[in-house]
């Protein structure tokens, strides 16, 4: 993945507007957070291949970390801490944020076809 280039990502986000798309939205601090630090506990959530349709999409940030917001008819999809992007299989936009060790902390993927099982 590459550091987020706002113009490119914004352009791709807009290509999904008013289409039924599949998303993967995830955040995690790892399955061993509390094992290695007794003051921490494991936090994570993911939703995979939820179908949504958004009318507006933006990526905004300070040049290092970014937030993405997708405006749905009845709500929002939101992700924070995004730092990198890639286009997977030509049509799947992957946005992710990693910690200093390169471990995934947050991910937002958007695709016009279902994401892999």
């Amino acid at each position: 993945m590459e550091p987020i280039e706002v113009e490119k990502v914004q352009h791709i986000l807009e290509s999904y507007i008013d289409k039924d798309v599949y998303i993967h939205l995830e955040t995690t601090n790892g399955a061993y957070a509390s094992h290695f630090n007794d003051k921490a506990y494991n936090v994570g959530a993911y939703i995979r291949n939820a179908q949504v349709n958004f009318s507006q999409a933006k990526i905004i940030g300070d040049g290092n970390t970014f937030r993405a917001g997708l405006k749905l008819e009845l709500g929002w999809v939101y992700a924070e801490g995004l730092t990198e992007w890639t286009l997977h299989k030509d049509n799947q936009l992957l946005l992710a944020g990693h910690d200093s060790e390169g471990r995934l902390m947050v991910a937002l993927h958007i695709s016009e076809t279902p994401l892999g099982q």
């Binding site: 993967h24 390169g102 099982q117």
Partner: protein, 225 residues
Amino acid sequence: MNRMEKQVVVILPHPDDESFGAAGTIAQFREQGVPVTYLCGTLGEMGRNMGSPAFANRETLPDIRKEELINACSKLDIDLRMLGYRDKTVEFEDKQEVAKDLKHHLDELEPSLVITHYPEYAVHPDHNAMGAAAVEAVRLMAPEKRPVVWAQAISNNYTAELGQPDIVNDVTPTFDRKMEAIMAHESQASGILGQFRESPALSDDLQEAAKQQLGVERFYVWNFK
């Protein structure tokens, strides 16, 4: 480790569980000519380590880890069966269905020994769930056909609650093979080995830290009474 085994089946949920947890013991069995089959539950699809520097992403990770798993099993010279469950979801499957699935393999392979995780003491929910299903699969077998089960605990509190493990296996003689298997899991190895450095009790030197942490493999013999 004195008894000669006929066939060993390792039942763990993630690619790399076999290498970090039991590769030294597995390598010893292979040196004795004992066949070993790994029933690997998932492809570790939801792992957060993406390589260091990162070369995987969430969408490419399953195929990458599958390849790493095949390579690690080849280094260990063991048979591999991938069970097709999904990372982080094993505990939400029907336990009896998973147990029946595992029993099907055990009935066919007729192992003398099964190695799995100790349910409730294995930290990751997939470890606990796969361990519980493995124990259940063996329990479903006729008592005279049951293999011995070695269960591996990982939690920080396990000796306090379970007492000393029955099997304390010094794997120094096969440690190089174990590290080869671990390093075959390229996307995971450096991240996980790196976590040992976060523990102040362990050395900064990665190889040394790995040896302190991974040079002994411990198991409890499951009691079906």
